[in-house]
């Protein structure tokens, strides 16, 4: 460690070890159920018990050969991609409005825009079902898309808004001043600047939609998404196939979230050494 000298002043080995143990235990607590599911998905035994049986891919094979699972996955991916794109577009618009304009009632506008995720999903799901069935949109993929966009757009907005708040407000005006119309400035300055956050928002909203169960359960009808299908399996029988699906869903979501994280923390950007050595 390069900061050994400064850090050693008031450091105690016992405290260090305790803190490390605390972190390890916290993560263990969070990830143990997922890890268990992961381990048992490769176990040949019918019931999850210890000692483990043999390593086996039979549950994955069973899942892969089930047309219902494929149908659920197709629905989930279809919904997830569209929700990601639409929610990110809406979130970007809302974030840009906040960045660019000062207007009466802006606080209310922001509060309303960020509200949906704070509503309990069961209530939101019921409300969606009641509303969408009234306008004859309930029970198909479109209804899931609409419902998911409602809960995902605020996430996209929050992410993109944070990025825009880091932007020098003179940048856009500088682009206009150099001959860019408002649309050109949007395309050549605002969007390039917000790009990492836009992709980050895209991946996060996809992951949220991919995992979301409660609302999808209310409104999906016959076009069940994968999490809804999983519930169906559970109600019929407890099968290690659930572990296989769970592992797959977890890996997919984590991949999306990690991709978003890399984009948002700028680790994906080019390394930028300091400027001290020049001039």
């Amino acid at each position: 460690m390069s900061d050994k000298d400064t850090a050693s002043i008031n450091r105690n080995r016992a405290v260090d070890v305790a803190l490390l143990a605390y972190i390890v235990l916290s993560y263990a607590f969070v990830f143990a159920p997922i890890a268990a599911s992961f381990v048992f998905s490769f176990n040949s035994d019918r019931f999850p018990s210890i000692p483990l049986g043999q390593f086996s891919l039979e549950w994955y094979r069973a899942v892969a050969s089930d047309p219902l699972v494929w149908q659920g996955l197709r629905n989930t991916l279809f919904v997830g991609v569209i929700v990601g794109v639409v929610a990110t577009a809406l979130g970007f618009g809302a974030a840009y409005t906040d960045f660019r304009y000062r207007f009466f009632g802006k606080q209310v506008y922001l509060a309303l825009a960020l509200l949906p995720p704070t509503i309990p999903v069961v209530i939101l799901g019921l409300a969606m079902l009641a509303y969408l069935s009234r306008i004859n949109l309930s029970g198909n993929a479109l209804s899931v898309i609409i419902a998911h966009v409602v809960i995902c757009a605020p996430f996209a907005m929050a992410i993109i808004r944070l990025r825009l708040s880091q932007m020098d407000p003179d940048l856009e005006a500088a682009a206009w001043n150099l001959g860019a119309s408002e649309w050109a400035a949007m395309r050549h300055v605002i969007i390039p600047f917000a790009k990492p956050a836009i992709f980050g928002a895209l991946f996060i909203t996809m992951a949220v939609s991919f995992d979301e169960f409660a609302i999808a359960w209310f409104v999906s009808g016959l076009n069940e998404t994968l999490p809804v299908k999983v519930l169906g399996f559970l109600q019929g029988q407890v099968s290690p196939r659930i572990n296989a699906i769970g592992t797959f869903v977890f890996v997919t979501s984590m991949t999306l979230v990690i991709l978003a994280q890399i984009l948002l923390t700028g680790r994906g950007a080019k390394a930028r050494p300091g400027a001290d050595e020049q001039e």
């Binding site: 005006a173 206009w176 001043n177 050109a184 390039p192 400027a275």
Partner: protein, 365 residues
């Protein structure tokens, strides 16, 4: 309108709600001129520049560019590029892409805009940094990129909003000569907003001094320095001693002013308007034109008994701080040789004096 006028402000007013940022402004900027707009923060200088750039719309009045009113022209159709205080370089573009930006927005072809951008990089001596990221550049290099980015469209006018404020003192001085030379070589009109007197006076052909949204004085640096038109200007420049009082008489080309420090006289020659007895006015005299002696000299000079209260040495000159009988602080600036024969000690009684011709009268508004 004269042929060599590039920009004119005609009765321009800018209000933000109740607040008047710029009060009725009438002035012209000549072609190829280096004009500095100077004042303390909040005086309306940046608002004036932003109106010219089209980033703020005047509440009243007309701004003309080459004779045509530009009030309703959006900033992107104006050709009034600006160098920002924050520089506002695009962080997601490298150096040469930043410089090409304005050409790209004007639909200039790829090869042509690369060629022009390279010319300007060369001119600003930053060719070697063409493919660098902005964050990899030092302050002075960024400054040059910002200049190249604005000048690449070869505009008639360049607006600069305190562009040097972020640089350290030595670099500031170097960039001042870069800017001055650039302006002379290109013949482009520069409008330079600053709060720094040294920047304004060392570079500009003419200086506009603003206070509280109003123009206090427009003139060459020499004119403003020698004959400040208002009390504010004299005080703002801080290079004059000032005595406020009432005109008590005018006789034989000499005006007498009654001040708390005593009766002071000055030559009426060169005064813009005749003065009447009873008017409130301020006599200003440059601290470099104020002399110091042990015994009062005779002739057409004002003499003022003073007591020395401090001294300060800066390079070749010294500043001596003095207090008049009525408690006002004044000072003189002289070379060390001029002061060599004086008994300079704190508390020493001396006589400050200056000729009638060196005094200058500023009438109260």
């Amino acid at each position: 309108m004269k042929n060599d006028t590039l920009v004119s402000f005609e009765g321009v007013v800018k209000r933000f709600g109740e607040f008047v940022a710029v009060q009725r402004m009438d002035f012209e900027i000549g072609k190829g001129e280096f004009l500095a707009i100077m004042g303390s923060s909040g005086c309306g200088k940046t608002t004036t520049l932003r109106m010219l750039a089209g980033l703020e719309a005047p509440s009243e009045g007309v701004i003309r560019l080459s004779g045509k009113p530009i009030n309703d022209l959006p900033t992107w159709s104006r050709d009034t590029p600006m160098v920002w205080q924050s520089l506002a370089l695009f962080p997601f573009l490298n150096v040469i892409e930043n410089v090409e930006f304005a050409l790209k927005m004007r639909g200039v072809g790829k090869a042509e805009r690369r060629r022009k951008a390279e010319q300007w990089l060369d001119r600003m001596q930053i060719t070697e940094f063409a493919s660098r990221n902005i964050s990899q550049l030092s302050g002075g290099q960024r400054q040059r990129v910002a200049l190249a980015r604005s000048l690449v469209v070869e505009p008639e006018i360049l607006l600069l909003d305190e562009p040097l404020s972020a640089l350290d003192a030595a670099l500031k001085v170097r960039m001042q000569s870069v800017l001055k030379n650039l302006q002379r070589e290109t013949g482009i009109t520069f409008v330079y907003v600053t709060h720094s007197q040294s920047e304004a006076f060392s570079m500009a052909d003419r200086v506009v001094i603003m206070s509280r949204g109003k123009i206090e004085q427009i003139g060459t640096p020499k004119e403003i320095y020698r004959t400040p038109r208002t009390r504010f200007v004299a005080g703002f420049l801080g290079s004059s001693n000032m005595f406020t009082g009432k005109v008590s008489g005018s006789d034989g080309g000499v005006v007498t002013l009654d001040t708390p420090a005593g009766a002071l006289r000055l030559s009426a020659a060169g005064m813009p308007q005749p003065v009447a007895a009873g008017q409130t006015a301020t006599l200003t005299v440059l601290d470099t034109k104020t002399d110091l002696a042990v015994t009062p000299p005779s002739g057409r000079v004002n003499t003022l008994p003073v007591r020395m209260i401090g001294e300060e040495f800066i390079g070749a000159t010294a500043t001596i701080y003095l207090e008049t009988a009525d408690g006002q602080e004044i000072r003189i600036q002289k070379s060390h040789e001029d002061l060599a024969n004086l008994p300079l000690q704190i508390g020493q009684e001396l006589v400050a004096h200056w000729s009638y011709e060196d005094g200058h009268l500023v009438m109260e508004e």
